[in-house]
Amino acid sequence: MGARKASAGKAEEVELARRLGAGDLTAFDRFVESFRSRLFQYSLMVCGHHEDAEEVSQEALLKVFENFGQLRDPESVRAWVFRIARNACLMKRRKSVFAPVQELSLDELMPAPGQAGGERKIEIADWSGLPETEVLRGELRQALADAIGGLPDIYRSVLMLRDVEELSTGETAGILEVSEDVVKTRLHRARLAVRRSLDAYLRGTAN
C-alpha cells in the first residue's frame, strides 16, 4: 500500500534534514510537505479525531523546527520527529491516562480450529484476492483503518511506529519508553489482531 502522495522516502527525509541543518532553506517546503502528511496520519490514528490530528500535527511540526538544533543525526530524523509527535499526542489525548490498559492475549488471537472431513483445521479466509501493492480498494482501506483504530492504545502505538512508519524496534522502544522485548510482544499481538479483523472482513465480502 506503500507510496504516500506527499511523503518522502527515508533517504529523501535524511537528505532534507541534512540540508535544513546546514541552513539550506530550499529544503523547507518539501520537508514540511512530507512530514505534515505523515504526522497527520499518525495523529489521526493515535488521537482518533480529525480536528485533534490537524492541531497535533501542526504543533508537532512547530516543535520540530523550534528544536531542530537538537537533531544530532539526520539519519534518525524520522524517529526524532515521531518522538515529538508522540509527546504531542499524549498532551492532546482526550482519554484519561488513568483508563485501564486493555491487554490482548495470544490465546484469544489464535484462530479457532474447525472440523473438515473429520480432520482439525483452522479456518482462514481466502486472502489471494487482495491487491498486491499500493492501491487498496476503498472498503479494504477502511477495514484496515478500522482494524488499526480498534486496537487498544498500547498496541496501536507500536504498530503505527513499527509497521506503518517502519521505524526499528530500538527506535520504537525509545519513543514509547519501553523495552525492545515489550515492543516485540505488543507488535506481534497487534499484527495478529489486525489480521483477525481483516480475515473477518474478507469472510464477509466472500459471502
Binding site: L25, I122, H188
Partner: protein, 94 residues
Amino acid sequence: MTSPPSAHDKENCREIFAGLSAYLDAELTPEARRELEEHLCDCPPCMAFLESLRRTVDLCRGFQSDAEPSPLKPEERERLLAACMKTLAARRGV
C-alpha cells in the same frame, strides 16, 4: 515441534503462533527459525496463517487513511518557517 502432515494441533501450534512475527522480522535464532520452518512444511494451516500475517504487515506498511490534512495555511507556513529560521540562526550563532 514438528507435527504430522495436516495435523493442526492447538497445543503444538501455539508456540508457532508466538514466533511468527519474529520469523517475519528475521529476529529468530537460526535454530528457532529452522524448527519453525520444519513445522510450517508439515502444517499447511500454519503456513496459510503465516501468509495472511505477512500480507497484513505488507498492507500496514505506509498505510494512510482516506482522510487528508487541510491545506497548509500561509500564516501556518510562515510560523513554521520563522521557527526554523530562528533555530538555524541560533545554531550559527547569529
